[in-house]
């Protein structure tokens, strides 16, 4: 784990941040946490569509699992109410367990797929569960960057 993190640190030090893309929330099914699977144009040259969609869909599935209202959540709710919610001092909620799984998944995706392509996903919980932030890095050592967005955010003209 320490060596894997070391690779991401190296990414941050050797590459410079070029741009950030924000994947917005998809509210078509209500207020449950879901992110849009629309492929942003800035990533077209950096990563394959299928890989990106796979990542977002898996994250959506994780969140759906965390927010599922069914037998287990009722049991947890009733048990917690009966103990005046004191049980949460010693027990982890289902949502927190799933969040840990999500954090692990994102780190794994970053290491295997995104960092080698000069990208980095930020866990949505660090952005208030509003967006998935994907940072695009430019390799300082490479001569001539391909994406052309070398200045921070202000230059993408429409």
């Amino acid at each position: 784990m320490a060596t894997e993190f070391h690779n991401l640190q190296e990414l941050r030090h050797s590459a410079s941040l070029a741009n950030k893309v924000f994947i917005q929330r998809d509210y078509s099914e209500g207020t449950t946490c879901r992110f849009q699977t629309k492929f942003p144009s800035e990533l077209e040259s950096r990563i394959e569509l299928t890989l990106f969609e796979e990542t977002v869909k898996t994250l959506n599935n994780f969140y759906a699992e965390a927010e599922k209202i069914g037998g287990q959540s009722y049991l947890e709710g009733c048990l917690a109410c009966a103990t005046a919610y004191l049980i949460f001092l010693c027990m982890e909620t289902r949502y927190e367990k799933v969040l840990k799984k999500i954090a692990k998944y994102i780190q794994e995706q970053n290491e295997k797929i995104y960092a080698p392509r000069g990208l980095l996903i930020t866990d949505p919980i660090e952005r208030g569960m509003r967006v998935i932030e994907i940072s695009i890095y430019e390799d300082r050592g490479s001569s001539g960057s391909s994406s052309g967005s070398s200045s921070v955010s202000g230059s993408t003209a429409r």
């Binding site: 950030k20 893309v21 924000f22 929330r25 509210y27 078509s28 099914e29 209500g30 207020t31 965390a66 927010e67 599922k68 209202i69 959540s73 009722y74 947890e76 709710g77 009733c78 917690a80 109410c81 005046a84 919610y85 004191l86 949460f88 909620t93 289902r94 949502y95 927190e96 969040l99 919980i125 660090e126 952005r127 208030g128 569960m129 509003r130 967006v131 932030e133 921070v152 955010s153 202000g154 993408t156 429409r158």
Partner: protein, 381 residues
């Protein structure tokens, strides 16, 4: 003056924007005005103490010892629910960091096209379709985000809160997604407690008056009069409030939506969040998943770059603060800012203009910076 390195790491709650107060190193989060909360606590604890002191000994002996035991359990549950409602994060949405805010601004600019000078830009609205119903998402100028559906900005706490219900001064906090069920249980159990104490007060007075006469009963237990008074007035308001919230829960509506009439009148029956089934609605609100707080209050502030030598303030704390905090809203010294930092924050504010222009140049000039863009919609309609 010698430069002193302050090595104490800051926790994130110390630099959160908004008008909340934090206690116990970020574990407790409340609104600024807590006076009425203390009154609530005083009334509940005071009335229950009188009940335990005056009525319970008599009732335990003459009726049943289960009466005070049940009263104690109910009282503890009420206090637990009150504290849980008051001290927890209601579901505050953190403000957008500059890159996200810029990204949204650019999307808005692209959507609006060019606006002739002198004309007011159109209101910032995003339409989303939820369960075949068009819902308008409004832009929050303070938090620089498009508010998720059912979120609203609380002007008292100066935060956007998810599934905002209302700001309750009696609990000293907003009521939102994360603490609504505790608030409902608080009102429900407080109603039960009030009815319980009121009923047993009457029983006690009647039973004792049969033996001793009415006036001597009152002389022996003077607390009874006070309790009956408090309970009588509390009863009507608490039962009414509980009934109102039961109605809202069965329809899966928030107080905010009810007041604004979002899903009533001509929009009746179109609430896209309702499952159209009372039991399902109740289960979702009361037994749904417990959402985590997205405000990382107790996390340590990141120090991105080493602090440079500072000729201005008394210590390099200024630089640390400048580097970690210039991304968020302007530094607001809150109650927990240590006194020795306050003058340096003032110094920081006066020297802030050199930081602002690069940021301001990227942001297009905003239209009327109303925290609630609703009024602009109403005017434009």
């Amino acid at each position: 003056m010698s430069a002193v390195m302050i090595t104490r790491k800051l926790r994130k709650w110390e630099k959160l924007p908004g008008k909340n107060t934090f206690c116990c190193d970020g574990r407790v989060m409340m609104a600024r005005q807590k006076g009425i909360f203390y009154l609530t606590l005083f009334l509940i604890i005071g009335t229950c103490s009188l009940f335990f002191a005056f009525e319970c000994p008599y009732l335990a002996v003459h009726l049943s010892p289960a009466i005070p035991v049940f009263a104690v359990l109910l009282f503890l549950f009420v206090i637990a629910m009150l504290l849980r409602t008051s001290f927890s994060d209601p579901g505050v949405l953190p403000r957008a960091l500059p890159e996200e805010a810029n990204f949204i601004e650019m999307e808005i600019e692209a959507a609006n096209g060019s606006v002739p000078s002198g004309q007011r830009p159109p209101p910032r609205i995003r339409n989303v379709q939820i369960n075949n119903q068009i819902v308008k998402l409004k832009y929050c100028y303070t938090c620089k985000i498009f508010r998720p559906p059912r979120a609203s900005h609380c002007s008292i706490c100066d935060n956007c809160v998810d599934r905002f219900d209302h700001h309750c001064p009696w609990v000293g906090n907003c009521v939102g997604k994360r603490n609504y069920r505790y608030f409902y249980l608080f009102t429900l159990t407080l109603s039960l407690l009030t009815i319980y104490i009121f009923a047993f007060n009457i029983v006690h007075v009647v039973m004792r008056s049969v033996d001793q006469g009415f006036l001597s009963t009152l002389k022996e237990t003077p607390g009874t009069v006070l309790e009956v008074l408090v309970c009588f007035f509390t009863l009507w308001s608490m039962v009414g409030l509980t009934g109102f919230h039961t109605y809202l829960i069965s329809l899966n509506q928030t107080t905010n939506e009810d007041i604004k009439g979002s899903w009533s009148g001509k929009n009746r029956g179109q609430n896209p969040y309702s499952h159209k089934n009372i039991v399902k609605n109740c289960c979702e609100v009361l037994c749904g998943p417990t959402y985590p707080s997205v405000l990382d209050r107790r996390g340590l502030m990141q120090e991105d770059s080493p602090t440079a030598a500072n000729s201005e303030g008394p210590c390099s704390f200024d630089n640390l603060v400048a580097q970690t905090v210039k991304t968020t809203a302007p530094l607001i010294p809150n109650e927990h800012t240590p006194d020795d930092v306050k003058p340096s924050i003032a110094a920081e504010k006066s020297s802030a203009p050199k930081d602002d222009p690069p940021l301001a140049a990227k942001l297009p000039p905003l239209a009327s910076p109303e925290t609630d863009a609703e009024t602009s919609i109403v005017k434009n309609q």
